[in-house]
Subunit: 239 residues, 4 copies
Amino acid sequence: MTKVDKNNSRTRLEQREADIIDAATRLFADAGFHGASTRRIAAEAGVSEGTLFHYFGTKHALLQAILDDFYAQLIESAREGIESVMGTRERLLLLAKNHLRALMENQALMMRLIQVYLSVDINYYKDYKNSPIHQLNYRYTRIFDNVMKEGMERGYIREDLQLSAVRDLFFGGLEYGMRTLMGRKYNKERIAAYVEAIVEPLWQSMQSHAVTPHAGPDERLDEVCSRLERIAVRLEKTS
Amino acid sequence: MTKVDKNNSRTRLEQREADIIDAATRLFADAGFHGASTRRIAAEAGVSEGTLFHYFGTKHALLQAILDDFYAQLIESAREGIESVMGTRERLLLLAKNHLRALMENQALMMRLIQVYLSVDINYYKDYKNSPIHQLNYRYTRIFDNVMKEGMERGYIREDLQLSAVRDLFFGGLEYGMRTLMGRKYNKERIAAYVEAIVEPLWQSMQSHAVTPHAGPDERLDEVCSRLERIAVRLEKTS
Amino acid sequence: MTKVDKNNSRTRLEQREADIIDAATRLFADAGFHGASTRRIAAEAGVSEGTLFHYFGTKHALLQAILDDFYAQLIESAREGIESVMGTRERLLLLAKNHLRALMENQALMMRLIQVYLSVDINYYKDYKNSPIHQLNYRYTRIFDNVMKEGMERGYIREDLQLSAVRDLFFGGLEYGMRTLMGRKYNKERIAAYVEAIVEPLWQSMQSHAVTPHAGPDERLDEVCSRLERIAVRLEKTS
Amino acid sequence: MTKVDKNNSRTRLEQREADIIDAATRLFADAGFHGASTRRIAAEAGVSEGTLFHYFGTKHALLQAILDDFYAQLIESAREGIESVMGTRERLLLLAKNHLRALMENQALMMRLIQVYLSVDINYYKDYKNSPIHQLNYRYTRIFDNVMKEGMERGYIREDLQLSAVRDLFFGGLEYGMRTLMGRKYNKERIAAYVEAIVEPLWQSMQSHAVTPHAGPDERLDEVCSRLERIAVRLEKTS
DNA sequence: GATGAATGAGATTTCATTCAT
DNA sequence: AATGAATGAAATCTCATTCAT
């Protein structure tokens, strides 16, 4: 009986916490961090404003909790995903889909906004490197890194890639284009197509280019061309 | 004399406008749109708050003016840049450098923030497509598109690329990685290296692989030769 | 005990609300709606500005609350009054006294001002007919109407009166003259005298004029005079 | 030449003054005294804000100038009116029509508002009695008083009337009911009907009842006869 | 633990008025 | 005489946070 009570009350606490986080996520997504007042959040969560602060202390801490949850889910689904397929290419496609889906389900241009917001808010977190948001993001992108490293070890992709650059292209590309997808409803096919379009060029650049033998002469030609072009431009200007 | 007077007073107005825009840009960059109060902005610009509103009407309008200025410069320097070199690869490197330099000089993660902010602020601009910020960004990315299209036409790069995806990778990759560069001071060499690392994989994926080995360079040589011949003719005439 | 506590706290809320309303009424009366700042009102009520808005939301809502209270009292005392006497004339005198007393106690030229103000503020209430103030006033003047109708039914006054015109004369007359009374302190005798002076002419016009025997010849003469005068005027003009 | 110049410039000054007054009247009527900014008024009048203050010194002074003009016209048309007819009743009808027309043409619930506003604004004019608006109103209502006194002297109406009360009923009744007429377009017939409805009860209460049976009509007949005789003489001359 | 009344600092914006030109 | 840029005080309202109950 006591145990049940305890369980119940703990469950009730957790439920309330979840309610608040849900409401806050929804409202942050709608109106942005500054646009969503704690009063409104509390009302939508069905608790008093006092309770909200009782649970989370500050509005920033509430945001942080949301991001923790968000990244936890993101990381979990990403991990599950890559264990379900073997090939590097398939895994990248899966990571990309997972990423986009998570962002869009959370109307997450706004998640991005918050992310950026926090990273910029130097009054709050003095430097990005040590900000909690950076830590979370780091943990998350490590999954991508590991997929890539395994791909290199197994010889699926070139070993002379600059990992950080590819990572930037991967996540940056996905998110930059997402704005175009936003507004429209979440749609599995469209996402799949978009993900392919983003991953395909990256994938090609990851292949070992052993096949292109003409490197030597080509490079020479290339350089000569550039020099000639520069001269041409200069001449055109002066004439 | 009167004319000088007139000039002076006009210049004074313009100077004040510029002062306000400068101060606002700085503070928005430091603290974000909501974090920078108009009072603070006015103080930093050395004018009264009344004057600020005399010039810009609303805080949003001030932000808009900043973005207008920012994009105007961005577009101008981008245009100048691509006219100074001929090859697609060189042009892309130049666009990338220009983009990063502009963003970093303006501590522009925050510019990005605003961009995202506005696009999200659905209470303010009901739909992203018609928002002023979208228009500006569209005009800007057209420059990239044109470079790519010309590259395709001249055979420097594959014609079966999905332009929008490459564009997303290009700008998204640059901006995603920029956060790592931020905080540190603007540094020409580091930027150049970073830009190469981002552009290189993209460039490789743009090449027609193996199947069309020599096409590129040959055509390019041809064209350069033609131009040089034409210039030679002109030079012969003028000299 | 708990009940008392509850009562106390509820009473405290009500007390605060009453304090704010009192202060606002006083200041609106002194300086008009625009002339009384929320800051000043809050200070006079002994609460913070935040609290004022916590209770009433907007300044307009505060004004509305005042008017609601004011009319509620006005209506209640009017109803009580007419039930305490029987004759139509006595009832009218009572209504008039009640009206004047309420207005003067509330320094209510200003109440009138607000009333007019609101009805004119077409930016706020687009049409007078549906404005809250009109509704209140309508409910209030219905009391007068009912007294009159009953008087007609019972034969105390003529039945061919145009009710709306008499109503306008009654309330308009009272309020127009009130300005003269204002400034001086509330004074029961003076008010009684003034009320008599206003009601007496109206009362006479309400009597069935059967008593005036000479009506026949007089009216004829009267009409002839008017006709002749009109002709005279016309002739003067044309000549 | 100089004189012409002077005339021109004086005319131009007067024109500007009139422009400002017109614009201000319109805007005050639309939005109330506080709702109409000097900036807007200046813009609508086609002058600079500086000029507005150059002419009128303060916003309150501008309002005062408007009221001066307004009452001047009101008084003039009232005087003209009562000279055009002879009978007391006709004169009262005429005064009433003139009053209503002037108010409605100026959307003048608002004129009334200002009037009340000023009289209440004790921060501005410490006491109503000495306020300029009171002076104006006093001069205006004197016209009514004179009509009444003449009517008494000539025996058209009872002499035991309390003039101030009748005056309050007359103007108060007209203005109280005016709100009902507002909103609808100015309409001659409706106004005439309304005026009759207001004046009729007052007129009845002014009649000497029973006690002074024949006094009035006789005198009146005498006078009309005299006038008709005079006109007859004139007509004989002209024909 | 939960509440919600209370706060006061601060936000954006408006406005009548001044004054150098 | 005319301008309109400049001002700074003040206005309404919002908000995250606290604290007594």
